[in-house]
Amino acid sequence: MSDITQTGPMLAADGTPLKRSLARALRMQKIRALMLIAPLLLFILVTFILPIGDMLYRSVDNRIVQNTLPRTVVAISAWDPASDELPGEAVYAALAADLKDAAEAKTHTRVAKRLNYENPGMASVFRKSGRKVKKWNVTDEGPYKERLIELNDGWADLELWRTVATYSSAHTMGYFLNAVDLKLGSEGVEVRPEDERIYNTMLIRTMRMSLIITFSCIMLGYPVAWLLANLPTSKANLLLILVLLPFWTSLLVRTSAWKILLQQQGVINDTLVWLGVVDDANRLVLINNELGTIIAMTHILLPFMILPMYSVMQTINPSYLRAAKSLGATNWTAFWRVYFPQTVPGIGAGSILVFILAVGYYITPALVGGTKGTFISNLIAYHISTSGNWGLGAALGAILLAVVLLLYWVYDKIVGIDNVKLG
């Protein structure tokens, strides 16, 4: 210690400058923290983030056309889709060769299905021709143009070739356009025919119903949160259990309960008929429609609204309200001008949380929503597990994910993810 000069840098015990030593200690601390986090981060990346990224890639992946029709894709690049003439013999010959290979490998129906999403009717042209072309000799039995058109006059349709040309690249925006009821025609983006439009309606309906649900949760949650925050702690804790119990109860249990309650022959209608409020012949339709979804989801998401509101209201000092009143404010003014503004952060936190959870709901709308009360998630599930249009399902998923992540970001800015509380 004695050899430290007044002018030189301060040194640590081992003789290194203190600044560097501190910096090293800090670095070590950071590394230690990261080492603790790394296993989990890696785990989440592999089991969760990577799968989602992989699915999102499907929304632009169009390699199936190149892989199944390699020769056609090369040949057709020389053709101008804007022209009014059919492609030349070379393209038809390439297609015949590709189709024969594909039909033998039974992959021609898959590419047909892909192109059919963009131009309905193409699947049957491919499917029917595939069966015949499989038996052709594709090296010397030309001219293929005449033969193919003779086989199926779909091959003389300019639109068909334009679709092949437009969708020959490895990546496409086609699914995303489809997800907002548009399509990529030969002359740029165009609106889909009226009888194929569905996704904008569904997206808007999802947003609208989620907003209604969020609003119902505010209306029902606010008085309860207020009561909880203003009761003596022991009583409040007891009542809090009533909020937490639904929160802990299985989603399916709650959904099945609502199914039983809301049916036309269910508990609610039975009670109303018994009370004479409703005529037995005109029982209320409470399920398999929007109303069913809204009631059940409001119930399911209500605790997510009450808890953040409650934690904000707990911190509000009741003397403000008394001060306002003693200054001559009416009950309503005191509440609206003094108390309510202080609870806005709680409402905001609860609303964003409820809305985020609501837009992604799948099980409850599927079970109580009928056709009118289903969400965009139900369509995603339909495309993934029933129709097999995975690209479209992924594109819809990407849009939904973008909405949710945007709100998540807002939530993080306003509330901070660290402040999420669970009961």
Binding site: A33, L261, G266, V420
Partner: protein
Amino acid sequence: MSALPPYATTGQRVWFYSFRVICGLIFFFLIAPIIVIIPLSFNAQDFFTFTPEMLRLDPEGFSLKHYRDFFSNDSWQSAMWNSLQIAPVATLLSVGFGTLAAIGLSQQHVPFRRAIMAILISPMIVPLIISAAGMYFFYSKIGLQGSYLGVVLAHAALGIPFVIITVTATLVGFDRSLTRAAANMGANPVTTFFRVQMPLILPGVISGGLFAFITSFDEVVVVLFVGSAGQKTLPWQMFIGLREQISPTILAVATLLVAISIALLTVVELLRRRSERLRGMSPS
């Protein structure tokens, strides 16, 4: 506001009581759907409504047959065993990784803390159908789709945010001077962790674990996609039942699940109080 002051006007009285009634109705809305399935699960008939016998409290109207069906039916039993084999393992994974990471995250200097936190919490935020679809395709590629391991990994990922949230919450109130004191007295980091830090954050770890457990135990969307028939869990079996033949056995299962929820909720509540006491805060 808990009691009505003696000088309240009539208007205030009316408002006070009608407000109580409104709140009572909301509580009723919250709890009634859960309560109503309990008596119905003892229905002697295969109906979902109260029979006249039940309303008369006639013992004839009640029976345990739906419970007997649950315990004797093969598909329900195998579903229960699958759930019991998946949830604890998924919980262990979430708790193991999650607790370590939460300790890392609560250090004073963590680079990219916010971004890391956002990633780790994301499984709770991303709509389940998107997680499920992503895992379905990706796990298929690496051969995990339709396997026990696949479902366990997926459920562990879904449970992690809950562990992170509860454990970081307990660590916020953790007094760092305790670890320094332990180090001063010659304890190595491992000893410090297990003897000083762990007992204090244990309530948070356990409640996080219970959250992770119930997440896996109740989860249906992801398991529908990632699992195959061999991993059919209790919620999956319930979902099939609800969509196709809603047999009253579902109500018996639902009642059992409610009982489990009540038990877990009680444990978490007790732990929370203990943790607050330990940290010197007044128990609420």
